[in-house]
Subunit: 259 residues, 2 copies
């Protein structure tokens, strides 16, 4: 299997750095090909601007349209083209990052903003009475799996169903469903490490064991059961979930799970 | 009133640029003092790294601890100190940005990651049997109001209660509650403009009218009724919402609304 690790932490000796290193060694030992996008080490340009679209950048700049034109013309910048090639190459993509302000660090968001260009990760496929593009379960990256490995400062109870921060699965929904499932990637349940700032070396042994276990069972882990957009569950083009397809009492982001 | 506009779009002639300009002129005409953080024009450094914490950066770097130490020592970088000063000065903070991949652009996330340092926006206040710091309704920025003004490519139906992207209020919850309410800012309902890429000049007249109306009624607009963390609604320190305080059937992020 081909595995891509996208890693976003400024400190190589951090917990995130250790989990990234452990993922590399574990997957290689298990026979995977592994490539790493270490965004800090690569000095990844986090900010979308006109220079991203070269000669296809119009004046005034139109981000969605120009990014699609540059994608079609093959004139996206080399750093972005390399990341798109890595994504096509990968069977599994692992994202390793700390949860900062309830979502990914800016450098990783900037990787998404630039690499997930129009005509690559969105604006793909046919629009008709029965289809609204290749999105949410279909798309350029269909057939691939992703897994978020996230460290969190707060306690697990703060992120449970009644926790003040909201349930972790809802906080991650815009990433797992909105970013990853959108271009067709199936998303495995996340590996979330709470109280990360209070972790001791003894705790780390258990964490490492659990993380290795997850890495060695990627193949047999069921993805999150997001509903495919063009499966018949949604009205086209309103993309409203049809009435009555969900279990009684289901609301919010949870509506978009098949069962 | 003192108004701060934090604006994140690479194109001055964009819809976001027009809405930002309209906010400046409308608020100034109404007698507000207005300051603007135009993140692209400022070439805002989006990425947290050791240089942010100067002599307080430890080796290995520990982001949360070191940012708090640099805040205490007054050695955060000048760009961050200026933004913190603007936030203290402001009565109202308006964020103008396009929704990219269901959240803010990387440059704005990087403003949050760097400006909302420890001991300024988190890690503030007393921890006891009845208090878990000054958070969620209390904190350094209590007494201020914020409003998100967001442009969205998709249709409103895609973001309604049953829409495939999830309800807009849930997508914005990690920003409105997690980022803004956390250091004490009251959050007004957002101004959301859907189908932004298909907006015509005729539509814009209506949009401008609605936006001016919102800007001229900031004072009389009720904030979103998030529950205060230390109000008694939550168990301390688990921060679980106590059983039975919510209306029947309420789940997910909506649990954290008072009514």
């Amino acid at each position: 299997m081909n595995s891509l690790i996208v890693y976003a932490h400024p400190e190589p000796k951090s917990l995130n750095g250790s989990l990234k290193d452990l993922a590399i060694s574990t997957l290689r030992t298990a026979g995977h090909e592994v490539r790493v996008s270490d965004l800090y080490a690569m000095r990844w340009k986090a900010v979308v601007d006109a220079t991203d679209y070269g000669p296809e950048a119009s004046n005034p700049l139109r981000v969605a349209r120009d990014s699609g034109r540059a994608f079609d013309a093959g004139t996206l910048t080399p750093d972005v083209l390399i990341e798109q090639e890595k994504l096509r190459w990968a069977d599994v993509i692992i994202f390793q990052f700390p949860l900062w302000w309830y979502t990914m660090p800016a450098i990783l968001k900037g990787w998404v903003d630039r690499v997930f260009s129009s005509h690559f990760a969105y604006g793909v496929g046919e629009y008709s009475d029965t289809r609204f593009g290749d999105r949410f379960g279909e798309g350029t990256l269909a057939g691939r799996k992703a897994l978020l490995s996230v460290t969190v400062g707060g306690s697990e109870s703060h992120y449970c169903a009644r926790g003040i921060n909201g349930p972790i699965e809802d906080l991650l929904f815009p990433i797992q469903h909105g970013i990853l499932y959108h271009p067709g990637i199936e998303v495995l349940p996340p590996f979330v490490l709470y109280s990360a700032d209070r972790l001791t070396s003894e705790d780390y042994a258990d964490v490492a064991k659990a993380w290795k276990q997850r890495l060695l069972t990627l193949d047999s882990t069921e993805p999150i059961a997001f509903r495919q957009q063009n499966s018949g569950d949604y009205e086209i083009p309103s993309l409203r979930l049809k009435e009555g397809v969900e279990p009684a009492g289901r609301t919010g982001f949870g509506l978009h799970l098949r069962h």
